[in-house]
Subunit: 356 residues, 2 copies
């Protein structure tokens, strides 16, 4: 794709946003200032956005608004997390406080535990099988094996997932995303200036976001994330397109059950319908609606603050036909779905190769 | 002012932003989710913004953009910090990592130390007197005594400031803002819908922001904050008004020297000119350009994430003529100035009683 891009002088960047959870008191603080220095844009405003695992999804939305408002032409949005340099005991604590404390964490519930409850209930309500959950991991590892930036590039079998040590019933170790280090960035430009940087831009067609109660017990359903539903409805409304126009999804599969729920909440399967879609191969590369062609959080990894930006990166590569062996054929529209705090917040961003 | 406001159904709030530093791993995380619950707006997107002591200033700018973009009509912007429930040893650490670590914190420099260096250099370059620094504290305590929401409502004398225990030469204890708990919130509404909520709105006339190197040694000057200068220039440019239209300032006086530098960097005195302005009484209530009529960070307190929102609150009260004994007469335009990380970032927001 070398001929279509025209390079970027960083002086063209008007503003930046950074999504990161950060481990305050352990790592450096004031991360927006550090981004300004390391990106070579000192002087420009930089804002750190932190919404747990959806930090970069919300940072992208802030960046989009900065341009839509007419205030900025070019905005850098980055996401980053360095998770492995903290002791696991403390890291568990830092991550844990992004979930509900009063009703869940102090009772011993972890994020795996919360999603384990969702999975159990999904099985009861919809007859979802353990095999369908496992197939999400198998598929995403197969996709990750095609992604040079993936944390895990190793295919796994359904039998391995089913035999993996139980973490939070019914979820095993291979149903859980790993602890990863990572960073990703996207450059947003107003429609009228994007041509200065590339002949093959990807459009942000629509954005949406929502919130929900942090504790599961406050929600009417354990098998659906209202924040995702709200975010998706807004994103499709602002994009002005229908779900059938979408060729693939980047969803927040922090646990295998999360991918099934995402497919349903985003409106690509009826409640309980994602398992069959997954087992049929429809969500695999080569299927009718590939989900997480980059390997998803499960195999690409889940460096908290970076995840939302890495989803946008994957969509950018795919919509430009530059995804190599994991290319989704004829991909022209796709969405990214980023979740914070087991569904307390969510963003959905619809991307398109042309104006919608 | 009871008759001019029409109340607010919280269902009218489309989105919210929260400015807070937070002590992660000590206090609850996912603070945006907590705001959604406590504000009764679960479902609406809420974004946490963290830019050290300028968190709420940047949150306000994100809120303004959400409306300017056309995406939202009504946006809540809150700021909060609960500082006193952490042990002082750990609090010092959490605050410290918002400054430069590599060149300053690990060498033993605290925020007081950084501003002490600025003050020393300001004295050398501009002949600024110890008395002028002290007078900032005397004035802000006098103002705080008139503010029922101030942390300190106790007037102090210049002799007391000069005799207070030395913290970081030349700054004494009474040159430093306190450790405070606090919260503040503002409601932003699009011009076309504001009339539903009040007959006496205050306009956000212009916003500006900037960044700078985190470590003092990287900056060309120790006596001026480039981030403030940049933010002010942008705010006045977008507001389309001149500095002479402003009747009073809310500035980030985390230390007495910071107020002098702010007055100069904002363009209301030449370099070195703020000391004389202060000693003349011009920046006191009753003077020609009152600064920090609410007592400023020095006396009102500096609950980190709340400060930028509390500045907007003060300006709102003043421009509506509702500031009681600390009212600035005929106040029609004012600005708020919020700084993060000893000048690594800054926002300036210009407010007006009418369109500019």
């Amino acid at each position: 794709m070398s001929s279509v891009d025209h390079g970027l002088d960083r002086a063209a960047i008007d503003e930046a946003f950074l999504g990161t959870l950060g481990f305050s008191g352990w790592q450096l603080g004031n991360s927006s200032a550090i981004l300004a220095e390391e990106a070579g844009i000192v002087g420009r405003p930089v804002t750190r956005v932190e919404n747990a695992c959806a930090s970069a999804g919300f940072a992208i939305q802030s960046g989009v608004r900065a341009i839509q408002s007419g205030a900025r032409d070019v905005v850098l949005v980055a996401g980053v997390e360095k998770m492995t340099d903290a002791p696991s005991e403390r890291r568990r604590y830092w991550l844990g406080v992004s979930g509900d404390t009063e009703w869940e964490r102090l009772a011993g519930l972890t994020f795996a535990g919360v999603y384990g409850l969702m999975a159990s209930r999904h099985m009861v309500e919809h007859g979802t099988s353990r095999e369908a959950l496992a197939e999400v991991a198998v598929k995403n590892h197969a996709h990750g094996a095609l992604n040079p930036n993936a944390h895990f590039r190793k295919p796994i079998s359904r039998a391995e997932v089913l035999a993996s040590p139980r973490v939070a019933d019914p979820l095993g170790l291979l149903d859980c995303c790993p602890v990863s280090d990572g960073a990703a960035a996207v450059l947003l430009a107003g429609e009228d200036v994007a041509g200065r940087f590339t002949d093959a831009p990807v459009y942000v067609a629509g954005v949406g976001a929502g919130s929900d109660w942090l504790a599961l017990q406050e929600r009417p359903s354990l098998t659906s994330l209202a924040a995702t539903r709200r975010a998706a409805d807004e994103a499709f409304r602002t994009a002005g397109i229908a779900r059938r126009s979408i060729q693939f999804l980047e969803v927040h599969d922090c646990f295998t059950i999360a991918e099934l729920m995402a497919i349903e909440d985003l409106g690509f399967a009826p409640p309980g319908g994602a398992a069959e879609l997954t087992l049929s191969g429809a969500t695999s590369l080569g299927g009718s609606l590939p989900v997480n062609p980059d390997g998803g959080l499960k195999a690409k990894g889940h460096p908290i603050g970076a995840t939302g930006a890495s989803q946008a990166y994957e969509i950018f590569q795919q919509l430009r036909g530059a995804a190599g062996p994991r290319q989704v054929p004829h991909a022209e529209q796709a969405l990214a779905h980023n979740v914070g705090g087991s569904g307390a917040s969510a963003t959905v961003t619809v991307f398109s190769v042309g104006r919608t």
